[in-house]
C-alpha cells in the first residue's frame, strides 16, 4: 500500500519533471521560421501557376545559389542579433575581404593563402568591432557603422580602385569552389547547408551557444553566473565577420572578379533576412534555420517579381513589406501568448 503510493508520487514527480508546455511539433508551429517557410511554399505554389519557368531545375539552381551568400552571412548575423547587437559592417567587410583575397592570389599565392588572408582580414575587423563593443561598451550600431565606412575605404585604398580578375595559379580551383556545383547543388548552397546544421548543433548543444542566448536574455544575470560575457560577445562579432568573409570568398570565386564595391548595401539584406527568419532585435532569440529561410524568402520575392514580369524596381518594396509584416506577425503572436 505505502509502496504503491510512494511509487505513484515518484511517477507524478517524474511527470512534472518531464512535462512540457507543448510537444516538439507544437513548439515548431510557434516559431517564426516555420511560418516564413509556409509563406515560401505558398508563394512557390502561386508562382508554379504564374510561370512555367519557376519550377525548372535551372531556376531552382539560381534561386538557391543566389540566396546562399546571404544565408551564410545571416547565420553569423543571427548570433550578433541574439546578443541584442547589430553588425552593419558585413557588406563593406565583403569588399575588403574580397579585395584582400584577390590581391593575395593575384600576387601568385595559392588558394590556401588566399583563404587564410580572407578570413584573417574578416577576423580582424570582427575583433575590433567586438572589443570596442564588449570592453569599451560602445553601442554596436555606432561601432559597426564606423567600421562600415572604414572597411570600404581600406578596400578602395588597397585595391587602388581597380578590378581584380587574375587569381594566380589556383584561379580555376577558386572559380570552381564559388561557381560550380556538386551533385547538381551549387557549392555555396552546400556550404550554407553544412553551416546551418553546424549552427543548429551549436545553438542546441554547445555551451558557447547557450551562453550567447543567455547573454541576449539577461547579460547581467549571465555575468553573475560567471559567464565571460565580454569574451563571448567578442567571439560573436568575430564569427559574424568570418561568415561575411566566407561569403565574400565564395562570391568572388563565382563572379571570377572582384571590385571594392563587392557587397555594397548587403548589410541591409542580411539584417532583413535575419529578422524575417525570426531574430529579435531585443536579443535572446535565435534559430539556425531562420537565416537560410529568411534569405530564401527574399530571393524568392526577387525571382517571382522577375518571372511575373513585374518591374524589378518593385523588388525593394516587397522585401521591405515582408520585413515589416514578419515583425508585425511576431508581435501579434507574442501578444496572444502573454
Amino acid at each position: 500500500m505505502t509502496d504503491t503510493t510512494q511509487k505513484s508520487h515518484a511517477e507524478i514527480d517524474e511527470s512534472i519533471t518531464s512535462r512540457q508546455e507543448m510537444s516538439g511539433l507544437q513548439a515548431a508551429l510557434k516559431t517564426q521560421p516555420f511560418w516564413v517557410f509556409v509563406a515560401i511554399i505558398a508563394i512557390g505554389v502561386v508562382m508554379s501557376f504564374v510561370s512555367d519557368v519557376f519550377l525548372t531545375e535551372r531556376n531552382f539552381f539560381n534561386i538557391t545559389r543566389n540566396f546562399a551568400f546571404f544565408g551564410i552571412m545571416a547565420l553569423g548575423m543571427s548570433a550578433v542579433i541574439c546578443t541584442a547587437g547589430i553588425d552593419l559592417s558585413v557588406g563593406s567587410l565583403m569588399g575588403l575581404a574580397g579585395i584582400v583575397t584577390g590581391l593575395v592570389m593575384q600576387a601568385g599565392y595559392g588558394i590556401g593563402f588566399g583563404f587564410i588572408a580572407c578570413m584573417g582580414a574578416a577576423a580582424i575587423v570582427g575583433l575590433v568591432n567586438g572589443v570596442l563593443i564588449a570592453y569599451l561598451r560602445m553601442a554596436p550600431f555606432v561601432v559597426t557603422l564606423g567600421m562600415l565606412a572604414m572597411s570600404r575605404s581600406i578596400a578602395m585604398v588597397i585595391s587602388n580602385n581597380k578590378m581584380i580578375y587574375d587569381f594566380g595559379p589556383d584561379q580555376d580551383l577558386f572559380e570552381w569552389i564559388g561557381g560550380e556545383s556538386v551533385f547538381g547543388v551549387p557549392n555555396p548552397v552546400w556550404v550554407l547547408m553544412i553551416l546551418t546544421v553546424v549552427f543548429w548543433w551549436v545553438w542546441r548543444y554547445s555551451t558557447w551557444g547557450r551562453w550567447v542566448i543567455a547573454i541576449g536574455g539577461n547579460a547581467d544575470a549571465a555575468k553573475l553566473a560567471g559567464i565571460p560575457v565580454e569574451r563571448v560577445i567578442v567571439s560573436v562579432y568575430v564569427l559574424c565577420s568570418c561568415c561575411a568573409g566566407l561569403a565574400a570568398f565564395l562570391l568572388v570565386g563565382w563572379f571570377g572578379s572582384v571590385t571594392n564595391a563587392l557587397g555594397l548595401t548587403y548589410e541591409l539584406n542580411v539584417i532583413a533576412a535575419t529578422v524575417i527568419g525570426g531574430a529579435n532585435l531585443m536579443g535572446g532569440v535565435v534559430y539556425a534555420f531562420g537565416a537560410p529561410i529568411g534569405a530564401a524568402l527574399m530571393e524568392l520575392i526577387r525571382n517571382s517579381l522577375l518571372l511575373a514580369g513585374i518591374d524589378a524596381l518593385w523588388q525593394q518594396f516587397f522585401v521591405g513589406l515582408f520585413l515589416i509584416l514578419a515583425v508585425l506577425l511576431e508581435q501579434i503572436r507574442n501578444r496572444g501568448r502573454s
Partner: protein, 246 residues
C-alpha cells in the same frame, strides 16, 4: 573560529555611504537574519560578500584568512552562494538552463563536449522536488510565477555544497505556501551544517528560522542579538530608529 568575519566593511557609491564600518561574524550552521528599512544597505552588504564588488574599506575573512572577491565566481569557489533580490534569471531560457547557467553539465563524444540536456533536466527536477516546488524544468522562466522563479534561483545555490548561503528577500514575491517551503529549506540547510544569512522584511520569517538577528540602519549596524534575547517589537524599534541601538 568563525566561518565568515567582516571587519569594518565600508562601501561608498560616490557621495552615498551605503555601508559604514560593518563588523559581523557568522559561524558554521548559523542562520542570521539581516533586517533594515529600504536603502539601509542590506543588499549592498550581501553583494560585497558575494563578490559583486569590493568594499571601499574593511576586510572579509573566511575561516580566519582574508579573502578578496573580485568577481562572483571567487565567492562561489570559497563556498558562498547567493540568491539575488532581483533573482538574476534569463527569461528566455528554461528553468533547468537557468539553474545550470555557467555550470552546465556536459558530455563528451571524442574531443567534442556537448550539453547533457537530459542530465540537467533530471537534476533540476530533483532539486525542485527537494524544494517541494511545482516548477517544471523545461518551462521557460518567462512563463513562471514569482514563486517558481524563486525556486529556480534557490535551486541554483544547491548545485554546489556551499558553506554559506545568502538570501536577499527570498520571500518578498511569493505565496504563503511557498514562504513556508522556503523557510523549510532554510531549516534543512541549517540542519546540514550550512550557514545562512536571510535578508527579509518579514519579521515572522526571521523569528522562525534565524538564531540571530542583525539590524542595519542607514548603513550602520545598530544591533546584533540572539533571537531569544530580543522581540519583534524591539527589532521594529531598531529598524525605524525608535530605539537607538541595542
Amino acid at each position: 573560529m568563525s566561518l565568515l568575519e567582516l571587519k569594518g566593511v565600508t562601501k561608498s557609491f560616490g557621495a552615498i555611504h551605503a555601508l559604514q564600518g560593518i563588523d559581523m561574524t557568522i559561524s558554521e550552521g548559523e542562520a542570521v537574519g539581516l533586517m533594515g528599512d529600504n536603502g539601509a544597505g542590506k543588499s549592498t552588504l550581501m553583494r560585497i560578500i558575494a563578490g559583486n564588488f569590493l568594499p571601499t574599506a574593511g576586510k572579509i575573512m573566511i575561516n580566519g584568512s582574508e579573502v578578496h572577491f573580485n568577481k562572483p565566481v571567487d565567492a562561489r569557489n570559497n563556498g558562498i552562494e547567493i540568491v539575488y533580490q532581483d533573482l538574476a534569471l534569463c527569461n528566455n531560457l528554461t528553468a533547468a538552463a537557468n539553474v545550470f547557467l555557467g555550470r552546465e553539465i556536459r558530455k563528451k563524444f571524442g574531443p567534442i563536449s556537448y550539453l547533457d540536456h537530459k542530465a540537467m533536466f533530471e537534476k533540476a527536477g530533483e532539486l525542485f522536488r527537494e524544494l517541494k516546488s511545482e516548477t517544471r524544468p523545461r518551462d521557460l522562466v518567462k512563463q513562471m510565477s514569482g514563486g517558481q522563479r524563486q525556486a529556480v534561483a534557490i535551486a541554483r545555490t544547491r548545485l554546489s555544497d556551499p558553506k554559506l548561503v545568502l538570501m536577499d528577500e527570498p520571500t518578498a514575491a511569493i505565496s504563503v505556501r511557498q514562504v513556508a517551503e522556503v523557510l523549510n529549506l532554510i531549516h534543512r540547510l541549517k540542519d546540514s551544517g550550512h550557514a545562512v544569512i536571510l535578508v527579509s522584511h518579514r519579521m515572522p520569517d526571521v523569528f522562525e528560522v534565524c538564531d540571530r538577528v542583525a539590524v542595519l540602519r542607514r548603513g550602520a549596524k545598530v544591533a546584533d542579538k540572539q533571537i531569544n534575547a530580543t522581540s519583534p517589537e524591539e527589532v521594529t524599534g531598531l529598524i525605524t530608529g525608535a530605539i537607538e541601538n541595542a
